[in-house]
């Protein structure tokens, strides 16, 4: 007869989740707590833990206790500490929307087949945000209680409606004399329509520019056709011009990956190095706007994207080891979720979902949407995700039936599939994407591209954190802390 020494149950379990990582390691099981602590353990350790057979004098027991997988009744109440940790991870829930996107026009000079935004012809103003709607949207912005606000101008090409941009910036700045918020302005633009006047204004108001750079000229121009076939050249000239007038860090770039991009990860990264960027965002194509109609030519299975991402990340790690600082943005966000007690705050990686709770979109026609993706669906003929108009108070917009539906399907910890997933403390819920791809805001995780992407990337990062050599770990930590590789010490003690 086997006597179980811990029959008196010196410990009790705390809420935990586990996942098999399908690695070659004996400690293949990832154990995570609701507060984001984690341990790699063996199958035997999982069984022992679950059935109260872990011996108190072992280091495993001490690890479990320290990381809040178990507690000792009567000796220590872990709840206050854990509650503080969870509160830090979910601190974004204690403030209103902080990201406010103004779609000042749908007009654009590009005819990108994959366009996520949908465009209108260059001439006319039928697709521009009116002055009255812009004024009301500024009222909505200040109804949010967020102490730090980001005001982002989107399009189309927002510089084609720069006078409206100028007006909104001036109104916000004037109102902020009394509001005293920390406000950041960003213009998302191709940079093709820059002028000295625009740059002078941007300098005066510390406006940041976010542009798109898809890789070398051949790839960028193929992705982004213009009548003059020189999109790349104009964007690069714009980058140089912004840097010359506003400083090197006043412009950042995002990459859109079409099917043709996936064969050239090194060329894309080399382009970012040669343009002197410190971050690159390797994001997959979204199922919105025109992108969905052209999906058969431009889209790709998420498994193909993951292969590309891993190859690109390996190359990025190599060049960073050589002293070139170029961080992959999404990896940096996931690392923050894994390695720190705080949330990255990134809208797509929030649970409850960030749509509406973190971001609001004021569309050119005066309607308000909970995310950029939700308004893109409108251009595909789907307007069910509209919160209301800019003339309704924020409280009313956030209490709309759409928000209720998004929140009901946007708590990852309560969703089928996610509720059992060990990665849920580091992941998010994206009901808008599931609605776009599966016609259901909850969606089925076994068929979810969002789930496959995040699970694939998180597993890969956990693998690198565990099995990568010292220098790989130093690069990842340099991205997390935004410090140069040489400033990050080797892990552990060294004589």
């Amino acid at each position: 007869m086997k006597l179980i020494a811990t029959d008196s149950r010196t410990y009790r379990l705390l809420p935990l989740r586990f996942m098999r990582m399908n690695s070659k390691s004996e400690r293949d099981i990832l154990l995570t707590s609701d507060t984001g602590e984690y341990l790699h353990i063996t199958d035997a350790q999982l069984q022992a833990l679950s059935h109260y057979e872990v011996q108190p004098q072992t280091s495993f027991y001490k690890d479990l206790l320290a990381r809040h997988f178990i507690y000792e009744p009567g000796r220590h109440d872990p709840l206050p500490e854990m509650a503080a940790q969870l509160r830090s991870r979910k601190d974004f829930l204690f403030q209103g929307p902080a990201l406010h996107l103004f779609v000042v026009t749908l007009r654009c000079n590009h005819t990108c087949q994959y366009c996520q935004v949908s465009r209108a012809p260059l001439g006319g103003s039928a697709h521009d945000l009116s002055q009255a709607d812009a004024w009301a949207a500024v009222d909505r912005l200040f109804e949010s209680n967020a102490s730090a606000l980001t005001v982002e101008f989107q399009g189309g090409e927002p510089l084609l409606a720069f006078e409206r941009v100028r007006q909104i910036v001036e109104w916000v700045t004037e109102r902020n004399v009394t509001e005293q918020r920390d406000i950041q302005f960003v213009i998302t633009t191709t940079l093709h329509h820059l002028t000295d006047d625009i740059l002078d204004f941007a300098k005066q108001h510390r406006i940041q520019f976010s542009t798109s750079l898809d890789g070398p000229a051949s790839l960028h121009n193929a992705n982004r056709p213009t009548p003059s076939r020189d999109s790349y050249e104009k964007t690069v000239r714009g980058i140089e011009w912004v840097r010359e007038k506003l400083g090197h860090d006043a412009v950042s770039a995002l990459t859109t990956l079409t099917a043709r991009s996936l064969d050239q990860p090194q060329a894309i990264i080399d382009e970012y190095v040669s343009q002197g960027f410190s971050s690159i965002s390797l994001r997959p194509l979204s199922p919105y706007g025109f992108a969905s109609k052209s999906a058969h030519r431009l889209d790709y299975p998420i498994e193909r994207y993951l292969e590309f991402y891993k190859e690109a990340l390996a190359y990025l790690l190599e060049i960073n080891k050589q002293g070139i600082y170029l961080a992959e943005s999404y990896a940096s966000l996931l690392l923050k979720n894994i390695l720190t007690p705080f949330s990255s705050g990134y809208v797509d990686l929030r649970s409850p979902a960030g749509a509406g709770t973190a971001a609001l979109v004021y569309n050119y026609d005066g309607h308000v949407y909970p995310s950029d993706e939700a308004r893109m669906l409108v251009e595909m003929g789907e307007n069910g995700l509209r919160l209301g108009t800019v003339h309704q108070p924020l409280r009313e917009l956030l209490a709309s039936p759409v928000m209720e539906a998004l929140l009901a399907s946007g708590v990852a910890e309560a969703l089928p599939g996610c509720s059992d997933c060990a990665m849920v403390p580091y992941c998010g819920a994206d009901p808008v994407e599931h609605y776009a791809r599966q016609g259901d805001p909850i969606g089925h995780r076994a068929f979810s591209a969002f789930c496959k992407k995040n699970l694939g990337l998180l597993k890969h990062l956990f693998g690198l954190l565990r099995e990568g050599d010292d220098n790989v770990q130093r690069v990842l930590l340099s991205w997390l802390n935004r410090r140069s590789f040489s400033d990050v010490l080797y892990p552990g003690y060294r004589s």
């Binding site: 979910k90 089928p416 059992d420 076994a446």
Partner: protein, 99 residues
């Protein structure tokens, strides 16, 4: 062992909720028909798509591994019942998502 693969399970060891979670989690690999009887559950397992090249014995092992993992999760959830809710209540007191 040709397709479909069949499994007969004790519903004491594998409650219906455990079976349902397994069926859900493996839906992109295998399609599982569930027949619940008074004291046991019968599973009839098919490949989810005709182009899936999963051998039958591996399919059986895969389903069993998931059943056992979900049964363990069920055990852990019962042992920690109420704690997750207490933690969320304590952590998020004062939170008002809709202002």
């Amino acid at each position: 062992m040709p397709w479909p693969v069949t499994l007969s399970l004790s519903n004491t060891a594998y409650p219906l909720s455990v079976v349902q979670r397994t069926v859900y989690g493996l839906a992109n690999t295998v399609a599982i028909q569930v027949n619940a009887e008074p004291d046991h559950v019968n599973l009839v397992i098919f490949p989810a798509e005709s182009n899936i090249t999963l051998p039958e014995d591996q399919a059986r092992a895969l389903v069993l591994r998931h059943l056992n993992d979900f049964a363990l999760r069920d055990h852990i959830n019962r042992e920690t019942a109420g704690l997750r809710e207490a933690l969320v209540r304590a952590a998020l007191s004062g939170c008002e998502i809709v202002q």
